[in-house]
């Protein structure tokens, strides 16, 4: 590929606009650090940028472990928005998937010969559970015209309270007030990652929580990329998101497409729950508190930063996880870790400027008559948020006449 082609590619302009938003966000972060404690501000920024690397290999492993669920929820929200739906219900699908994975991880008794498949069964079930949880908003949207945003918000709360109830009923460790550890066979294997991400303290090998779940998340992103961009099925789903009525006219079963989009998005979130919670002793457990799972909402900035592109979402999730880990280490300088959320929020806000910026970049590198225009979503009679969510996608190239 020659240099000119690289600059002309849309991926390049998108990446540049995201990276400049990140720079602005970090700059604001530095200002905030200066305001709160000027003497250590630069050191603080260094810690944020170092992220997981502050704790060497184990720290990096931890940030990859943290990235795994938000890759999945980011994919879920990104996929739904490519198909014209705003999946704000990723939290509910995530926590329901997590519970089902833990339930099977704790309760399922397999004969010796089948024990190897325990974690696979648990993951598959978490996926199905997430999909079923999203099926309800999908059906409601397609057949009853219920806005998917409102039904998903309701499903978030129902899922949260339901999971709290069932955790306390079936898999509760009342000493720690957390969900129980899953069986050894239900822990996702490491597949060699424990040989990379560990720290030696004397003779003790301190291994990071990361496991093959990370590979699975990457694989899921690639599968979604292929489905969306290389298959007729993906094309139909996208067409439906772009204009439901035109798709119907073109012979696509638009109701089926809406339901399937929602279910696939739910499966991704549910799988994310399984991937996070099927881990060894030092990993996460479900806390029984009346708070909606934050991983679902964190998927929204990841999807936005990754421009709803599955590959972009991987990098966005890695970045968010990286600086979130940095925020944890920032506490040693007496800074408040919430500063990271502020930085991410500012990055997201400035990515709103990206259209402006993309036009500037395209003017710098592109032929004059090719221009990026804003994608304002389905014309005609859009559903609420349909325009907004379609707008999550990249700008669309248009040739001037």
């Amino acid at each position: 590929m020659n240099k000119r082609n690289l600059f002309r590619s849309q991926g390049f302009t998108n990446a540049v606009s995201s990276i400049s938003a990140i720079c602005v966000g970090l700059l604001f972060g530095l200002v905030i650090l200066f305001v709160s404690n000027s003497s250590q501000a630069l050191q603080g920024l260094g810690i944020i940028l170092k992220g997981g690397f502050s704790a060497r290999a184990r720290g990096v492993g931890q940030s990859l472990y943290y990235a795994t669920p938000i890759i999945m929820t980011g994919l879920s929200i990104g996929f739904a928005s490519k198909t014209g739906l705003f999946n704000i219900g990723a939290s509910g699908q995530f926590i329901v998937g997590a519970f089902v994975a833990i339930f099977i991880g704790v309760k399922l008794q397999l004969p010796e010969s089948l024990a190897w498949s325990h974690w696979i069964i648990a993951l598959l079930c978490s996926m199905i559970a997430g999909g079923l949880w999203a099926l309800i908003p999908g059906l409601f949207k397609a057949y009853l015209n219920v806005n998917e945003v409102i039904s998903s918000i309701m499903m978030n709360y129902i899922g949260m309270y339901g999971v709290n109830y069932f955790v306390k009923l079936y898999v509760y460790d009342s000493l720690k007030a957390l969900s129980q550890n899953v069986a050894e066979t239900a822990v996702i294997p490491k597949w060699g990652l424990d040989h990379i991400f560990f720290n030696m303290t004397g003779n003790y090998k301190d291994t990071a929580t990361i496991n093959a779940g990370f590979y699975i998340a990457i694989a899921a992103a690639i599968v979604i990329y292929i489905v969306l961009n290389k298959t007729v099925f993906g094309y139909e789903l996208k067409a439906c998101g772009y204009n439901r009525f035109a798709s119907k006219f073109a012979g696509i079963n638009e109701k089926r497409s809406i339901v399937l989009s929602m279910v696939i998005a739910g499966m991704l979130s549910g799988l994310g729950g399984g991937l996070l919670y099927l881990c060894g002793a030092n990993g996460r457990r479900i806390k029984v508190v009346d708070v909606i799972a934050p991983e679902g909402f964190n998927g929204i900035p990841v999807a936005l930063l990754g421009l709803s592109n599955p590959i972009g979402i991987i990098f966005a999730a890695l970045f968010v996880a990286h600086i979130t880990m940095g925020g944890e280490y920032l506490q040693q300088l007496n800074y408040v870790p919430e500063i990271i959320d502020i930085i991410i929020a500012i990055i997201i806000y400035f990515s709103a400027f990206s259209l402006l910026l993309r036009n500037v970049i395209s003017k710098l590198f592109r032929d004059r008559h090719v221009e990026l225009v804003s994608d304002t979503g389905p014309a005609g009679k859009p559903g609420r948020f349909a325009g907004a969510s379609a707008g999550l996608n990249d700008g669309v190239e248009k040739e001037d006449k």
Binding site: I153, L304, A388, L392
Partner: protein, 319 residues
């Protein structure tokens, strides 16, 4: 009777914030800008006004302090919503982006500032509740109605009803309301008859910011004695109430009351003899408002009509 009066009084505490915030969202949506930042703006409004009360409560107390806090919450809400307005109107960006950014920014900002500014470096902001009205003079003595509306209440409840009345009149009986609705339905048509779409949309978003900020304060005052950087997802629930209420003021009132009543039953069922005797665990009760809303929605949404242009940036040169 005691129980019913108690239920009604509690229902206000849950319904009024939802009502105010959903009405705020209505102005924004009707002008053509989807405001999913309601939750974040509520948090900022609650944070700044509760912090104001925290600082001023040694000097003053009671209703004057609360009214000043109301002003603070309204102002801070408007300022916050300016960011959303600028991104989604001037920059024509996707309206979910700035909404998400604000929702993420608000709790982080509240925690960060509280821990930086307060001497004890904790994120909770404490306040003394000196605002409860035991009984409104004269009106509180009316049998039944006095119990429902004028005892054990807060001045914010009446502000909520005032907001509702103003919203119903403004939206349907004034020039401004007509123009606002036109901008949300067909901005190009509105533009062609000389309405400044950008200005109307700014007005819509600013009003929604003011009301969301107010809603944050109204939510925290009766239900707690400290502010912990959260409004328990009420901004998202208000969004649900707004859709449930079909973007119409009176229907929003009923949606908010319905949801508030369900929520009250869920949180006070142990005080209701009939429900307390049933062998149903508390988590199931907590689910009831959400399940009930879903069921009602399933039966009422077939003819749902959102403002047509909501969520779509207005471009003068567009078709």
């Amino acid at each position: 009777m005691e129980t019913i009066i108690f239920l009604v009084q509690q229902t206000w505490f849950f319904s009024i914030p939802l009502l105010i915030v959903a009405l705020g969202g209505m102005y924004s949506d009707r002008s053509g800008v989807t405001n999913i930042a309601l939750d974040g703006i509520m948090i900022i409004g609650a944070f700044s006004s509760i912090f104001f009360i925290n600082q001023m409560q040694d000097i003053m107390s009671g209703q004057p302090l609360l009214l000043l806090a109301v002003l603070v919450s309204v102002l801070s809400g408007m300022i916050t919503s300016l960011f959303h307005a600028y991104a989604s109107i001037n920059l024509k960006s996707n309206q979910v982006i700035s909404g998400t950014a604000l929702n993420m920014f608000a709790p982080a900002f509240a925690i960060f500032t509280a821990r930086m500014v307060q001497d004890n470096h904790v994120q909770q902001i404490l306040f003394r509740n000196t605002f409860r009205i035991e009984s409104v003079p004269v009106l509180g003595d009316i049998p039944i109605i006095g119990g429902f509306f004028f005892q054990n209440n807060y001045i914010t409840t009446y502000i909520g009803f005032a907001v509702l009345a103003v919203a119903a009149i403004v939206l349907y009986k004034t020039k401004f309301g007509l123009r606002l609705r036109a901008c949300g339905e067909h901005p190009h048509a509105a533009d062609s008859v000389g309405i400044n779409v950008y200005r109307m949309r700014y007005a819509g978003v600013l009003i929604s910011g003011a009301l969301a900020g107010l809603g944050g304060l109204v939510f925290v005052i009766p239900t707690s004695t400290n502010f912990n950087a959260t409004v328990a997802g009420y901004g998202f629930l208000a969004l649900a109430v707004l859709i449930f209420g079909q973007w119409k003021p009176i229907r929003i009132l009923f949606a908010a009351l319905f949801f508030g009543l369900m929520k009250t039953i869920a949180s006070t069922y142990s005080g209701i003899p009939l429900l307390a005797s049933l062998p149903v665990p508390s988590d199931i009760y907590k689910m009831v408002p959400y399940i009930a809303t879903l069921i009602v929605l399933a039966f009422t949404s077939k003819t749902s009509q959102s403002p047509k242009a909501s969520g779509i940036p207005y471009d003068k040169g567009g078709r």
